[in-house]
């Protein structure tokens, strides 16, 4: 029982702390459950893949752990992060850290359960090294991949897919160093226990202040922009002139829908920021039928405008990559975690 607790509890407790520390509640419970489940599935794939590769390569355990496992395991965990990153379900490094840690935690839990089944070692320090060392390492490296990918993708949205590579390389290097056991496994676990909370706290601190700034300034800017769009002077603004130019390239109804979409994205952006602001204060804003209708309208407008039209709106920088995240945030506000529910 002690072995099970020591092997499985630390990473679960750390994940729970991260989840509770997030004052904006950026990660819905459903998303956290998905991260854990996808990490666990990645671990099952890794176990099967390793058995096959072990037979194929004929490497001894030590060589395999040093050179093969870091590559395969970090690749599988990174693949789990691609979907939420690509679908705009992650808005800031802080939720990237939580989702990444969740994927790694799911991976580590399955891996440790497999060790518990196969390794009848009564020595408690072995399980301490697994629970505090390997499990925290798995979760941390996945968090590193997610944080790095999100940060780089924000800086360069057109290369969002490649943004995952630097974090992945770093994660493989960290994992390989850990597996080389340059220091004793217990010492490595102790170092991780000291370093990881510090790094994660630093990321949280920075990301929370970034989020706070974005919520406040972004809301004020969106409100002003919306007022401008709804004013009689709209035609004289840069935005108005650009939309007028688009009339020569797109049919009238499509340009009208573009105008509607810009307003709608601003309204949804304001609601999402308002929701985060209320959460920070410890209040929950109810999601009403109007929001649900707006989200449905947004999907309709995306269809009628089409990919080319949406691309034409990009230079206006009113519709941003965070719009998808706004939608995700509003859709999942106040909903219980149901793992079988598909995204609308």
């Amino acid at each position: 029982v002690a072995a099970v607790v020591i092997a499985l509890l630390p990473v679960s407790a750390f994940l729970l702390i991260l989840f509770l520390f997030d004052s904006f509640k950026l990660v819905p419970r459903l998303m956290l459950a998905r991260a854990l489940a996808s990490g666990a599935a990645a671990a099952l794939v890794a176990l099967a893949l390793h058995r096959w590769l072990f037979d194929l390569t004929g490497f001894d355990t030590r060589t395999f752990a040093r050179y093969v496992a870091p590559l395969t395991e970090e690749t599988l965990k990174a693949l789990c992060l691609l979907y939420p990153l690509r679908r705009g379900q992650i808005g800031f490094p802080v939720d990237a850290a939580i989702v990444g840690f969740g994927v790694g935690a799911g991976f580590a839990l399955v891996e440790n359960i497999d060790y518990l089944r196969g390794l009848n070692d009564p020595r408690i320090w072995v399980w301490a090294a697994r629970g505090f060392g390997a499990a925290i390492m798995h979760a941390s490296t996945a968090a590193v991949v997610a944080i790095t990918a999100k940060t780089l993708a924000d800086r360069n949205p057109s290369h969002a897919l490649i943004a995952i590579l630097p974090g992945w390389i770093l994660a493989v290097a960290l994992h390989a160093t850990f597996n080389r056991a340059l220091v004793s496994p217990l010492l490595a676990a102790a170092v991780l226990l000291f370093v990881v909370p510090l790094v994660v706290l630093a990321v949280f601190e920075r990301s929370e202040s970034m989020t706070r700034e974005w919520v406040g300034e972004g809301l004020d800017l969106d409100v002003e922009l919306l007022a401008l769009i709804r004013s009689s002077h709209f035609d004289e603004t840069r935005l108005g002139r650009y939309l007028a130019e688009l009339r020569s390239r797109f049919p009238g109804p499509v340009v009208a829908d573009m105008f509607c979409l810009i307003q709608l994205e601003l309204e949804l952006g304001i609601r999402a920021k308002g929701m985060l602001m209320a959460r920070e204060a410890g209040l929950e804003v109810p999601i009403d039928d109007q929001i649900r209708a707006s989200l449905a309208e947004r999907r309709y407008l995306h269809r009628t405008i089409g990919p080319t039209g949406l691309l034409a709106l990009r230079p206006l920088q009113v519709t941003t990559l965070r719009d998808d995240w706004h939608g995700y945030l509003l859709r999942h506000a106040g909903k219980p975690a149901r793992w079988w529910r598909r995204d609308v």
Binding site: K273, A278, A281, L283, V285, P286, D288
Partner: protein, 118 residues
């Protein structure tokens, strides 16, 4: 730095409630003074509050944050808070952010007094 010329806070009492009549702009410059004033009231045990916005022509996210924090404190104290006299500009910001359901909103000060009456 807070400039009283940008926002005034007039405090009065009516029907067992504290009424704060704001005049001017509630923004990043003035919100700290408002926050300080409100924190003083709730710390002194005031649990029935009315904020009259009839003299306010502009509120930004900084002002909204102050109102949200006040709503949370009043809720924790099991008190009552009402907002009144919102002009179109202020009401629209509250509505756009989705905050209207979080507050008891009244058109007039008398109607607000009825909402906070215990």
């Amino acid at each position: 730095m807070y400039d009283p010329a940008l926002m005034q806070i007039d405090e009065s009492r009516a029907g067992g409630a504290v009424v704060l009549a704001l005049t001017g702009r509630v923004d990043s410059t003035t919100s700290a003074a408002l926050e300080h004033h409100l924190a003083g009231l709730t710390a002194a045990g005031e649990r029935r509050l009315i904020v009259d916005f009839s003299g306010v022509d502009y509120i930004s996210s900084a002002g909204l944050r102050v109102m949200l924090a006040l709503a949370k404190r009043v809720r924790d104290l099991k008190g009552a808070l009402a907002l009144c006299g919102m002009g179109d500009a202020v009401r629209q910001v509250f509505a756009l952010a989705g905050f209207l359901p979080l507050f008891a909103v009244a058109d007039s000060r008398d109607a607000a007094l009825e909402k906070v009456a215990g």
